[in-house]
């Protein structure tokens, strides 16, 4: 069991590397879908375990919600938004991809050294699952600042959310159920609002390039 979870946490980390290496908007939406699927698998496995041991179904319910929201609904929504606002494929990043991947490696090393010094998270051995999931959060942040398109920032935000969710799952076996539900409601509302704003940006600025949003400074 622990081996499978270790493997899944590494796969989730790898999927965020793939995300950073993606060039096109459509391919990073697909990678996000894959990452969410891996997280749903993790939640499913932990949910089955907690059902067997303690008779609790809440983690399983959360896993099912991830499948319906993050694997199916949100990626479709992003694809639809993308199809309506953008017709050409443009270069969409500030730094080149090999450099970004190297920075990602640095982030993983950084979170390894910071998490491993904190007593309490690590019971004897270093908890690699938490290291991996905190790295996903940091990579999500890097992804957000490295993309120029509004949709890239939405995907980055969702990846951060994914990273937070697996951090909670691996370190504490999930937050209290009511809190998890609230986080889902907030997340879906945030994505809908950002989606509407992307349309408005597209309408007012005639593109979704964020470097045009520089009127409010100082």
């Amino acid at each position: 069991m622990a081996n499978y979870l270790d493997a899944l946490s590494v796969l989730i980390l790898v999927s965020s590397f793939v995300l950073v290496a993606n060039k096109r908007i459509s391919s990073y939406i697909a990678t996000f879908r894959l990452q969410s699927l891996l997280i749903a698998l993790t939640a499913g496995m932990m949910g089955l375990q907690s059902l067997r041991l303690e008779g609790r179904v809440d983690v399983l319910v959360v896993g099912l919600l991830i499948v319906s929201l993050k694997v199916i609904y949100i990626p479709n929504l992003l694809n639809r938004t993308f199809a309506q606002v953008e017709y050409r494929v443009e270069k969409d990043f500030f730094l080149n991809i090999p450099l970004l991947v190297l920075i990602c490696c640095g982030l993983v090393v950084f979170s390894y050294f910071s998490i491993s010094t904190i007593a309490g998270i690590n019971a004897g051995t270093i908890n690699m699952q938490v290291v991996n999931s905190v790295s996903v959060v940091l990579i999500g942040l890097l992804f957000m600042i490295s993309r120029k398109k509004a949709i890239g920032q939405m995907v980055g935000f969702l990846v951060i959310e994914n990273g937070l969710f697996v951090t909670a799952l691996f370190s504490t076996h999930g937050m209290p159920f009511i809190v998890d539900m609230g986080i889902f409601i907030d997340m879906i509302t945030a994505v809908l609002i950002m989606g509407i704003l992307v349309f408005r940006i597209n309408e007012k600025f005639e593109s979704i390039n964020l470097h045009e949003l520089k009127n409010l400074r100082g």
Binding site: I160, A168, I178, D186, I201
Partner: protein
């Protein structure tokens, strides 16, 4: 009563989408906000008598004590005053064709949804639920910031949503670590429950708790507009409709600080000293004040200038919480109230000026005093008040914070603090005061066009002038209760 208050706000918000007619919308808003204010008064009385208010309904999620009661009262008081002001403001916008009837309903719906989420953040016991409510405040106010739907306001709304959502996501990581630090101590129904966390604070795992505090400070600090995470704030405050700017600055920032203060109480009790949280809070507070001082000196737009002044005052409050002596906590809480009232008064007068002149640049405005016979002087006095001139209330709370800093033997810190306050005063005087004198250009007509709004402005001016000299005993007792909750020294029933 408390649950009733939440329910009323939620239902009212939905009603705004269903009801037709301008007069009906204005009437409902006035009635609802007056009712809410009355309810808040009743709840505060209960808190004063019993120390806290809880109900067994819905798993006992509702919890109100002295600390949250103070901020809840600010929310509902400003909610009422802003509702009154909005009537005149929106009518003027309606006459100019800026809004139609449908968008009026949406405005009120969003405003009440915004107030609902802030009330929820202040009245839940569970830190996770509090996080959800604070994130929801961003979502509810996003379209209020982008209400005018032009280039600048859409840009401000996008930056607001993205920066605050990411910031608040960082706070979630902090909440997760807080949860982790308590796993071996608390049982399932108490998980993330603030009173339980605080009661058993000594048993939490300190290393994880410290990590949690840093994330929560950065996360909620983003929402509270503390530098260097403040970049969304000037844009959002200047682009939102002025009544909403008043709510954002007077209420929203306090709700975010409230999350930080709750965490500080737990962490300091756990570590047994305030050295760790104090260092971080004082550093971030001074940085916010310094950033604000520089930008105020070079600012060209009056609403942005006031937004930077909000950053400065949040810095002052963070610094005072960082000192963590009874006197400084008292000063911080008092300053929260005073800043909210004064700053919302200023943003509301900005709304009047903006509707009169139609421009946001300071350089294009002359003769406010002669053109607006009531709002003009109120605006000018408000600027003096916010910069810390006696006899207004901001002066008295700043004085008590300075006193607390020196009493704690932080002489250098006190000197830097006073220097920064002086810099801000100078910046305000240099950039803003030229708006008031001289003759107005063009063919603008002398007179007030928002009558209910003018009454609100005068009420607020009276409030900040009176509380600068005299603190009502009830308010003082409430502040002392809140101070005890933060510092400790009083047993809490879980």
């Amino acid at each position: 009563m408390g649950l009733f208050l939440l329910a009323v706000t939620g239902i009212t918000a939905v009603l705004f989408l269903l009801l037709p007619g301008r007069n009906l919308l204005h009437g409902l808003s006035l009635a609802a906000s007056a009712g809410l204010l009355g309810g808040a008064g009743g709840l505060t009385r209960e808190v004063l008598r019993q120390g806290q208010v809880t109900y067994p309904a819905l798993g006992g999620f509702f919890y109100l004590d002295g600390l949250s009661a103070i901020i809840l009262d600010i929310v509902l008081l400003l909610g009422f005053l802003v509702s009154v002001y909005s009537v005149g403001y929106l009518e003027a916008e309606f006459r100019h064709g800026q809004v139609d009837e449908r968008r009026l309903g949406i405005y009120y719906f969003l405003m009440y949804a915004f107030m609902f989420t802030m009330m929820l953040a202040l009245t839940v016991k569970n830190m996770g639920m509090m996080w959800i409510a604070i994130e929801a405040t961003t979502l509810a106010s996003a379209f209020l910031v982008g209400f005018y739907n032009d280039k600048l306001s859409v840009e401000a709304a996008w930056k607001y949503v993205i920066i605050c959502s990411v910031g608040i996501a960082v706070a979630l990581l902090g909440i997760i670590f807080l949860h982790l630090s308590s796993l071996s101590v608390l049982n399932p129904p108490q998980l993330l429950d603030w009173t339980a966390l605080y009661d058993q604070a000594e048993a939490l795992q300190s290393p994880i708790l410290r990590l949690a505090f840093i994330f929560i400070l950065v996360g909620f600090g983003t929402k509270a507009g503390l530098a260097p995470m403040h970049t969304w704030l000037p844009g959002a405050h200047s682009q939102a409709p002025s009544p909403i700017s008043a709510l954002l600055s007077g209420v929203l920032l306090n709700s975010a600080l409230y999350g930080i203060i709750r965490t500080v109480a737990i962490v300091n009790k756990n570590l047994g000293s305030s050295a760790f949280t104090g260092r971080l809070l004082i550093a971030i507070g001074l940085l916010s004040m310094a950033t604000a001082a520089i930008f105020i000196l070079t600012q060209k737009e009056y609403k942005r200038l006031l937004a930077y002044s909000s950053i400065e005052h949040m810095g002052i409050i963070a610094l005072a919480v960082g000192i963590f002596t009874p006197a400084s906590i008292f000063g911080a809480l008092l300053h929260m109230i005073n800043h909210s009232l004064t700053k919302s008064m200023l943003f509301l007068s900005c709304g009047t000026v903006l509707q009169k002149y139609g421009v946001k640049e300071i350089a294009r405005i002359r003769g406010v005093l002669s053109l607006l016979p009531v709002s003009g002087p109120v605006f000018l006095l408000g600027l003096f008040a916010i910069a810390g001139t006696p006899p207004f209330s901001v002066f008295s709370s700043e004085l008590s914070i300075i006193g607390a800093v020196f009493a704690a033997d932080r002489l250098l810190l006190g000197a830097v603090f006073i220097l920064l306050l002086a810099l801000v005063f100078m910046g305000m005087a240099l950039s803003m005061f030229r708006m008031f004198y001289g003759g107005p250009r063009g063919k603008l007509v002398r007179g007030e066009n928002n009558l209910p709004g003018t009454v609100v402005l005068m009420l607020l001016l009276a409030a900040i002038a009176v509380t600068g000299l005299y603190l009502p005993p009830d308010l003082q007792q409430l502040l002392l209760q809140a101070q005890q909750i933060i510092i400790g020294g009083q047993a809490h029933a879980g």
